[in-house]
């Protein structure tokens, strides 16, 4: 299929959005239509994407193909076309987003069918796909920014989908505002780039930057650091990760699609997109890698002590995103994208799996009018008997994320750690990053297994009567799970390392080569070879296995009490349970002071007190009181009038005697 049809991939979901939106306003009960249109447009878009991919498979372009739609902004030297860009990188993202997106749409049909806002949900979901695709395909930073903000908006709407709950609306707002802090960085980065390069087109940046800017210079470093601030916001890195766990307030498919597979990886995509700039700024790359590694370990520790199944997965997402940044920060852009892809597979699977678990739990509690928390893994246990399919698939995903060969996660995570270690030769700090990454890997395996164990193994804690109502989800939901399961298992094949016995080797790397070449020239990837390499692999596998076993053992060692009777956490566990009290910290350090100052200092004091009170009304009052003084002098006594008269007369006469 000719790449010029690329606009179709955006147009299709948009049509879906219009249709579903109209239905949501006019005829919400028409769920059948929605159930067909919603996923339908996505599948169509996926088909188009596959078609284009197939068309370019044989002869990949060495230059990105740009398809301008119309001239958007034009002011002085700033000419921005609303243009779509097709190259190897955007194609990979395109396939992942539309593919995984379609699966999740299908899953949602089963998951949300009972919800009155069914049509509205799919309208939002389609709209999200529109913006996500603009983000991926945008040929310049501003166009990308359109998608960037748009997905933020949809995430806001979907997190607050059940807006009747204040907590959900709060979470949505938090997500948007925290993202805005990141966007601030993105904007400033754009300004710097525009005034230093005179363009915001990715292609032109890639060609201009090396010739115009100094490697490691202040300009490029500043630009990349601000850019990374944006990425940190979108991809939930320290210090802006706080919104992602709250985002779990949204429906589970949303968590799978937006907060695991697609939107949150946009930051990684952006770094890969502008790899040239990052490659020119070693400092920024180090910052990226460092923040990534730190986030990976930090989030992983929190994951250890979460009981909400989705919160566990949320922190694991944060942590995995950290990995991706560790990768791109180590100039291993391919590895980063690779992990992005595999993570999309297994994390989407995990979320959807948790979705079907919650689905079952919810039905059980709903049937018995119990008000227990359907997401708390302390209320689950032994579910593998009731949800066998879900159990098997989630187990596969767990092995994948833990990094057990030959599951997909193993290859991507291993490549990231290896390249981080490799850069250590140049900058020893990277050894530290590698160590953090490795430690995070251990914790990942541990908390994932803990979650699995508490959910599926041991004896059931849901309750005697509820237990009857637990049952596997319908086909429409398990179907996508199975597809994702397969992908999580074999996903690694797209980029097998050299040491792997069977080809194809480095598929993704060779595919992306034309896009990442400029960056690679400036900062080549360093994968250690020979003994070191094998040692690293061994260590990685060992870590994964230890983590899993330890997780299983410690969790099931002592009986678990259901949420109600669960004892209060103590010691460091409590700190972890409360996520290091970071939210409380932000709230009391930033939010409340800001509101307080605005209300009492700026508004009441400065605005109403000083400017209006003293300034405006004050001067008016002054005039009035002066006038009052005048009326007092107007005593009605002729004698006094005469005196005033004479004073004036004397003054006048004096004025001529000089």
């Amino acid at each position: 299929m000719n790449p010029s049809w690329i606009w179709l991939t955006i147009a299709l979901p948009f049509i879906g959005f219009l249709v579903n939106g109209a239905l949501a306003l006019a005829k919400p009960e028409a769920k059948r239509v929605v159930a067909i249109v919603g996923p339908g447009v996505l599948l169509a878009a996926f088909a188009v994407a596959v078609g284009i991919f197939a068309g370019l498979w044989g002869n990949p372009p060495d230059q990105p193909l740009v398809f301008p739609l119309w001239a958007w902004i034009g002011a002085g030297g700033l000419e921005i076309n609303l243009a779509l860009q097709v190259d190897q990188l955007s194609l990979v993202m395109l396939l992942v987003v539309t593919g995984v997106g379609s699966l999740i749409h299908i899953f949602s049909v089963g998951y949300m069918v009972a919800d009155p806002g069914f049509a509205r949900f799919f309208a939002y979901l389609n709209l999200f796909m529109v913006f996500m695709l603009i983000l991926i395909l945008g040929s310049s930073l501003p166009v990308l920014f359109v998608g960037w903000e748009g997905v933020g908006l949809c995430s806001y709407l979907l997190i607050g989908f059940w807006y009747q709950e204040k907590a959900n609306a709060d979470a949505g707002k938090k997500a948007f505002i925290v993202n805005r802090i990141g966007d601030f960085g993105a904007l400033v980065a754009m300004f710097i780039l525009f005034w230093s390069l005179g363009t915001l087109e990715f292609a032109e940046i890639a060609t201009l930057a090396p010739t115009t800017l100094a490697v490691g210079g202040a300009t490029v470093t500043a630009a990349t650091l601000f850019l990374f601030l944006g990425c940190a916001g979108k991809s939930a890195q320290i210090p802006l990760y706080v919104w992602l766990p709250d985002a779990m307030a949204g429906p589970t498919p949303v968590s799978a699609l937006i907060h695991a597979a697609t939107m949150v990886t946009a930051g990684v995509y952006l770094v890969a997109r502008t790899s040239v700039l990052f490659a020119m700024a070693p400092l920024s790359s180090a910052v990226v890698a460092g923040v990534g590694a730190l986030t990976a370990i930090f989030a992983a520790t929190i994951g250890l002590r979460q009981y909400d199944i989705k919160k566990v997965l949320a922190y694991s997402t944060v942590s995995q995103l950290g990995y991706m940044f560790l990768g791109v920060g180590s100039a291993a852009y391919t590895a980063g994208v690779f992990h992005l892809v595999t993570h999309a597979f297994f994390k989407a699977l995990l979320f959807l799996g948790s979705g079907s678990v919650i689905h079952a739990m919810h039905h059980a509690y709903h049937a018995t009018h119990s008000h227990d928390d359907a997401q708390d893994i302390r209320n689950m246990g032994g579910l593998k008997r009731y949800l066998p399919t879900t159990f098997i698939l989630m187990l596969l995903a767990t092995l994948a994320i833990a990094g057990i060969p030959p599951f997909s996660g193993f290859f991507s995570k291993d490549e990231i750690l290896a390249s981080a270690f490799g850069r250590g030769a140049e900058h020893p700090i990277y050894y530290l990053f590698w160590a953090l990454g490795a430690a995070a890997a251990l914790l990942t395996a541990f908390y994932m297994m803990r979650m699995m164990a508490m959910t599926f193994w041991g004896e059931n804690r849901t309750g005697a009567t509820e237990r009857e109502h637990l049952h596997e989800a319908p086909m429409v939901m398990t179907g996508p799970l199975i597809v994702l399961g397969v992908l999580s298992v074999i996903g690694g094949v797209i980029n097998l390392p050299a040491f792997w016995p069977t080809p194809p080797h480095h598929g993704l790397e060779r595919w992306l080569e034309p896009v990442l070449a400029p960056a690679a020239r400036l900062m080549p990837v360093q994968i250690p070879h020979g003994a070191t390499e094998y040692a690293l692999i061994g260590a990685a596998i060992l870590i994964a296995v230890v983590g899993l076993v330890a997780g299983y053992r410690t969790t099931l060692a002592k009986p678990i009490t259901a949420a109600q009777q669960a004892p209060e956490e103590v010691g460091f566990a409590k700190v972890l349970f409360h996520k290091y009290y970071i939210d409380e910290l932000y709230h009391s350090l930033i939010v409340r002071p800001l509101v307080g100052i605005s209300r009492f200092v700026l508004w009441r004091f400065v605005d109403q007190g000083v400017i209006d009170g003293a300034g405006v009304n004050g001067s008016a009052g002054l005039m009035k009181s002066l006038g009052w003084l005048g009326t007092r002098l107007q005593s009605g006594q002729l004698g006094f009038y005469v005196i005033v008269f004479l004073v004036g007369a004397v003054w006048l006469l004096h004025s001529v005697i000089r």
């Binding site: 002729l638 008269f645 004036g648």
Partner: protein
Amino acid sequence: MNPIDMRTPLGIVTAMLPELIVVATSLVVLLLNAWRHRTAADSRLAGQVSLVGLVVALAALAALWSGGATAAGPPHMVALDGYRFAALGVVLVASIGGVLLALDYLEREGMLAPEYYSLLLMATAGMMYLAGAEDLIVLFLGLEVMSVPVYVMAAFNRRNVLSAEAGLKYFLIGAFASAFLLYGIALVYGATGSTALTVIGSATSAQGLPVMAGLGLMLLVIGLGFKVASVPFHMWAPDVYDGAPTPVTAFMATGVKAAGFLALVRVLMVGFPNTIDSWQPALGGLAAASMIVGNLVALTQRSIKRMLAYSSVAHAGYLLAAVWAGSRAGAAATLMYLGSYVLTTIATFGILGVLGRGGERDVTVDSVAGLARRRPWLAFALAVCMFSLLGFPGTFGFVGKWAILSAITAEHHRALAVVLVLTSLVSAGYYLPIVRSMYMKDPVSEASHAQASLPAAARIAVAIGVVLILVFGVAPQPVVTSTVETARAFVGTGLDRVADLRP
């Protein structure tokens, strides 16, 4: 028309035709009163007669002016130039207004004394002499002929102690002030050896200003400054304006003030054109003081009548600022502003006269509440007047203020201009509340404003006033032309400065 030879009786009669007509009418009315002075009809008749007389005088004036009458021969005591004609026009308009307002008012308030009109006409004659005087003797006579009847008019409501008090205060301090003026004349005469302004002008141009003449000049300024109620010689004005019957107040606020200013302009610009530095500081001071005091004190008044009294002090300040400019532009601005001020004030007091009873001292900002609901046209008229006094674009008042401002800024001395605009801003603080009260508040009771309706005569005055305010506000072209032309006809070399706005 050929130049009029002021040495022949015919010439004098022609030149003085308007004054003579007014005086004659006054005498006729007086004579009439000898037989007819009992009923309302009598006083109404007297009023109508004097109205006719004034209109005829106006016609005569028009004839003279359009004929472009000029004087021939040596210096004479009464000016014969466009500026005098314009001045006479202003004065006559003011006194016509005074008559129209009085016609029904006196009847309503039970002041059935037709002498009122002969006094008014006599005062008018005095104003005309004063405004046209080109000799200090005529100036003095005109001033007195104007003042003495006005003293009586102020005290005209014999049943009302306030009116009597107003009359007495005005009389005593007025006589006191005219003594100053007289002394000024004496000193100027002593210094220059003449009382003819043209002679004085050439003398001062030649030899500069001796101290004696300077003192005399200042005493003249004091005397006239008193008549126009400029701070600090204004203290009488609020009380007198307040106590006098409303039509009299209107007459004083317009006619007397106008005549005083026109005389002041002529004295300064014909008599002392080249010694401008000697009187500019003084006038600037008076102007600033008047603007500030008048506006600030007006801000705190509750009674509209008294508020208008103070605002008239403020307007005296604006006019003094125009005179201060000492240029043709200033002279033109003075004329123009007087025109707008006279029209607006007549209309305002005309409306005020029907809003209350017994001297209208109790008419406050609150008592006009909701007037727009009951008497829309009356409210509209008053609103227009307020915006015109405020000097808001679209009204004659703005054109006048604009003229003054451009005259001042022309003098490269913008402090006065800034004072003017800032004090005008303050004035918004007391003009707007009236508009607000009329339009944005609801009537106090069902009965309120029931009796607030203009009688025929006053209605004519108000209607003409308001219409002219709006017309000249939008199309000031004719007024600007005439004032600029008349000002240009002024003698006095000292006025030929770049300051004059001449395209």
